[in-house]
């Protein structure tokens, strides 16, 4: 029995959360540093996982398995494949930046301290979320996964409902009400999804007799476990709905704009860049592996929904007047790409989708965090309140532009690679859908550039004339993200090498192979 | 001995007769309990019903219970009821008019339905033959009960004991009112009265010319009208004021007339005294 690396990776932030929460209220800064250190340590562990993981080895590695609830065959089973490793790394990388970016977001309000903002709580909750996300990436036991998939909601609920932007254009009271509305909406949406998933999980247990992903998948592959077509489809829908809410897929998306709009920028990043990834990841791992036939059966509908998400999200992003909402709708569009790539059932599509999850995490983090810095300076989220920032804060504007260019997936930056892979992967099997999806890149350019033009260019607005440029802390947050974006855009091979074998496995799970090009077919 | 014998096995025509007669009374009593306007009457009817039930107990061979029923229930509990009724007001009759919409109909519906169901249940139950409490009461009913209570049901018994204690304490807690502030001295009371500016001198005494001295008779004002003030508040609230002003004044008139005759004065046109309001008619 070797050192339980995966457990450690998940447990460390959990313990860190407890420790952070236990820091006395007076020692606020200590709590912050503690949280930051814990997250960095977690990053170190994640890197070890990355190193110890052998891309060409068995499918699930670093596995741990202990019996947990004997009567229901629930086991504490952990294991990572390439996709999970990539996403764990993403999470572990982003959290320190999130903590650093939110350094002052939870400080007690100086003026009119109506709501006490428990700083320790803020950072503890972030770490708790990290722990749960990581373990749900690692879990290979359906029940175990479900538990953390749901438990994640609790800290997220408090993060959304408890900590908003300190400056709000409508005043503190409305801010509080809108916040709670957003938080409750988030909770309800995801709970409903989780409820259906719970039903499906139980159904799966009834059918399969245990919760172990590997056993069930193998049994299905070997044919020893037969599922009636209708049963499989119902179970699939149960799982997929939950993940589609989390992802979020049109028309289950409306919780995301509210949540991201009302929460502080770091929390918004946490939602869209980290937590939502669990949804898409789970589609790839559970839906496709457990219910290959049903997945293929549902593919057309899902692809259309994804397509709608892409175009719809982009169009709505164009129509937004609130920076954060804009980013939220952009994310919806991007999640559309991810889902499309997953269900295109081609190696390019799925590798692209996985890559997309990583890149979208980084690019959104960059854009959203800079936007957060911007908002914190001016105290308003409305695009119309800005203008000419480029003149007074060139570095801020520059980073903002780079984040935006990444969002519109400019070649040379990471998102381009994934987006193009997804498009190609879809196009090879569904040309029409691929072509329509390509319109997304034009719309993306539209909303990003309109945002940049309205906020950064033009004559300098008097309100922003005194705006300070990025501070050191903020640069420390943004610069590495940008470096990552460029590096992964120029040399994504390290990630693809890890991801590709896992994708090959998944493809074989669903018994699909890439379509052959015409010329070779001719030969 | 043979009385128990008799009571135990057969149900003699005597018992049947007794059942039908007393049963009717019991039901009537129950109905009156429900439908009497005044709480006192309800209480009395209930007491009657209970006594009837006591007799039925005896008839069923439950001698101890029969006695207890009379002593405890009719003797103690109903007295308690009467006490409370007295506290709350004997004649405070509440109207039977229903305030909650549909309550009465629902109540009747449920009641009737429930009764029907019970009857149906009893009808279905197979209770044709029965064996009386003969050998159960062989060596005395009380002894039998005692042996059961102190062996088989001892715990229940103890617990009921505890329950009773708790109930007693609880009743005390509920009814006892802690006096939080110091009792007002007479001086303070008078000062308060002055401050509130209401009726400074002591209230006038009831009774008329000392010819009536019952507390429920209002004293008369010089013009002959009765003064409410003279009557005790509680009586006033219950509306139990005997108004004797008319008779009193008529007596007075007769007295004066006799005095006239005695002094041979030309009789003034004798007109019977009327109370002002009658005169005004």
């Amino acid at each position: 029995m070797s050192f339980p690396l995966l457990t450690a990776t998940a447990a460390l932030p959990a313990l860190g959360a407890v420790a952070t929460a236990a820091v006395p209220a007076a020692r606020r800064t200590a709590a912050k540093w503690l949280a930051l250190l814990v997250s960095l340590a977690t990053l170190a562990l994640a890197v070890t996982v990355l190193v110890r993981f052998d891309p060409d080895g068995t499918r699930y590695q670093l596995t741990e398995s202990h019996s947990w609830i004997k009567d229901f065959g629930v086991r504490y089973e952990l294991g990572v494949d390439g996709i999970a490793v990539a996403l764990i790394a993403l999470t572990a990388v982003l959290i320190p930046f999130i903590i650093l970016a939110g350094w002052h977001d939870a400080d007690p309000l100086e003026t009119g301290n109506r709501r006490w903002r428990p700083t320790q709580g803020f950072f503890a909750l972030i770490l708790a979320v990290e722990a749960m996300v990581i373990i749900s990436f690692e879990a290979t036991d359906v029940f175990l996964f479900y538990i953390f998939f749901e438990a994640m909601l609790i800290p997220m609920y408090f993060l959304i409902g408890g900590f908003g932007d300190r400056a709000h254009e409508h005043g503190e009271e409305t801010a509080a009400t809108q916040r709670s509305y957003a938080a409750v909406k988030f909770l309800l949406y995801n709970l409903v999804g989780g409820l259906l998933m719970l039903a499906a999980v139980i159904g799966l247990y009834v059918v399969a007799g245990n919760f172990s992903l590997q056993q069930i998948a193998e049994a299905r592959a070997s044919g020893s476990l037969h599922m009636a077509t209708s049963t499989e489809r119902w179970l699939f829908l149960g799982f997929f709905f939950a993940f589609a809410v989390k992802a979020p897929l049109w028309p289950l998306h409306t919780w995301l704009p509210n949540a991201m709009q009302e929460s502080t920028a770091p929390v918004a990043v946490l939602i869209t860049a980290v937590v939502d990834k669990v949804g898409t990841f789970a589609m790839l791992r559970f839906c496709l592996q457990l219910f290959p036939e049903a997945s293929k059966w549902a593919t057309p509908v899902i692809l259309v929904l994804a397509l709608i998400s892409i175009v719809y999200g982009a169009l709505l992003a164009v129509g937004q007047r609130d920076i954060k909402r804009l980013v939220a709708y952009a994310s919806i569009s991007h999640f559309g790409f991810i889902v499309m790539g997953i269900f295109a059932m081609t190696s390019q599509g799925q590798s692209g989708a996985t890559l997309y999850m990583v890149n979208h995490g980084i690019s959104t983090a960059a854009l959203m965090l800079v936007a957060g810095f911007l908002i914190s300076r001016r105290g308003s989220r409305l695009i119309a309140d800005y203008g000419g920032v480029q003149k007074v804060a060139p570095v801020l504007a520059g980073t903002f532009l780079i984040g935006g260019l990444a969002t519109l997936s400019l070649p040379g930056l990471a998102p381009f690679v994934s987006e193009f892979l997804v498009l190609v992967g879809t196009f090879t099997r569904y040309p029409v859908i691929g072509v329509i999806a390509t319109f997304g890149i034009v719309l993306a350019a539209l909303y990003v550039l309109v945002l940049y033009q309205r906020t950064m260019t033009g004559p300098v607005k008097p309100e922003v004339s005194a705006m300070p440029d990025l501070r050191v802390r903020e640069l420390v947050v943004v610069a590495p993200l940008i470096v990552l974006l460029i590096f992964l855009g120029v040399y994504p091979k390290p990630v693809t090498d890890i991801v590709n074998p896992a994708v090959r496995q998944t493809m074989s799970d669903v018994h699909k192979t890439d379509p052959k090009p015409e010329v070779e077919a001719a030969k | 001995m043979n009385a128990t014998h008799l009571a135990a096995y057969t149900t003699s025509t005597g018992e049947a007769f007794q059942f039908w007669v007393l049963g009717t009374i019991a039901v009537i009593g129950a109905l009156c309990t429900v439908f009497m306007k005044k709480a006192v009457h309800s209480a009395l009817c209930l007491a009657g019903t209970m006594i009837v039930l006591a007799i039925f107990y005896l008839a069923n061979g439950a001698y101890f219970l029969g006695i207890v029923q009379v002593v405890v229930y009719t003797g103690a509990i109903m007295m308690l009821f009467l006490f409370v009724v007295m506290l709350v007001g004997v004649t405070a009759a509440d109207s039977l008019k229903e305030t909650i919409k549909g309550q009465r109909w629902l109540a009747l519906l449920c009641g009737v339905g429930f009764g029907v169901l019970l009857f149906a249940g009893i009808g279905n139950a197979s209770l044709k033959e029965f064996n009386g409490t003969g050998q159960a009461n062989a060596n005395g009913n009380v002894e039998g009960l005692a042996s059961l209570i102190f062996t088989k049901y001892v715990f229940a018994f103890e617990i009921t004991g505890a329950l009773l204690i708790t109930a007693a304490v609880g009743a005390m807690v509920l009814t006892h009112r802690e006096r939080t502030e110091r009792a007002k001295t007479q001086r303070e009371l008078s000062e308060q009265r002055v401050r509130e500016g209401k009726h400074l001198p002591p209230l006038p005494a009831p009774g008329v010319y000392a010819r009536h001295n019952a507390v429920d008779i209002a004293g008369l004002l010089p013009d002959g009208t009765p003064s409410e003030l003279t009557v005790n508040k509680t009586l006033r609230e219950r509306g139990q004021i005997r108004d004797v002003s008319t008779e009193a004044l008529n007596d007075l008139r007769a007295l004066e007339q006799r005095a006239e005759e005695r002094l041979e004065r030309t009789a003034i046109q004798p007109e019977t005294f009327k109370r002002p309001e009658e005169a005004s008619k």
Binding site: - | N60, F81, L108
Partner: protein, 99 residues
């Protein structure tokens, strides 16, 4: 005559008592009705004990009485304090649980 009639009588009394509880507003009368119901039960128990030829039924009836006594004590105390505060024994006046 068959002692089952006692049971019918008990049922009848019980129903009457229950209906009384439902239609009377005066708390005291209400309690009397409850007593009536309890007595009806007692009658049933006694009858049962006679039918089965053992005393358990009577024991239960005995306990019932005790409980009834306790209940009356507490209930009446409540009524008294209620009357003290709101000068009325009508249960409808004590409807503060209404939203």
């Amino acid at each position: 005559m068959n002692p089952v009639n006692y049971l019918y009588l008990a049922a009848l009394l019980f129903t009457i008592g229950a209906t009384g509880v439902l239609i009377r507003r005066n708390a005291i009368v209400l309690f009397m009705c409850v007593e009536l119901m309890l007595n009806a039960c007692n009658l049933a128990f006694v009858t049962f004990s006679r039918m089965h030829g053992n005393l358990d039924g009577q024991i239960i009836a005995f306990f019932t009485m005790v409980v009834a006594a306790a209940e009356v004590v507490v209930g009446l105390a409540i009524i008294v304090s209620l009357f003290r505060t709101r000068h009325s024994a009508s249960v409808d006046d004590a409807s503060l649980m209404k939203l």
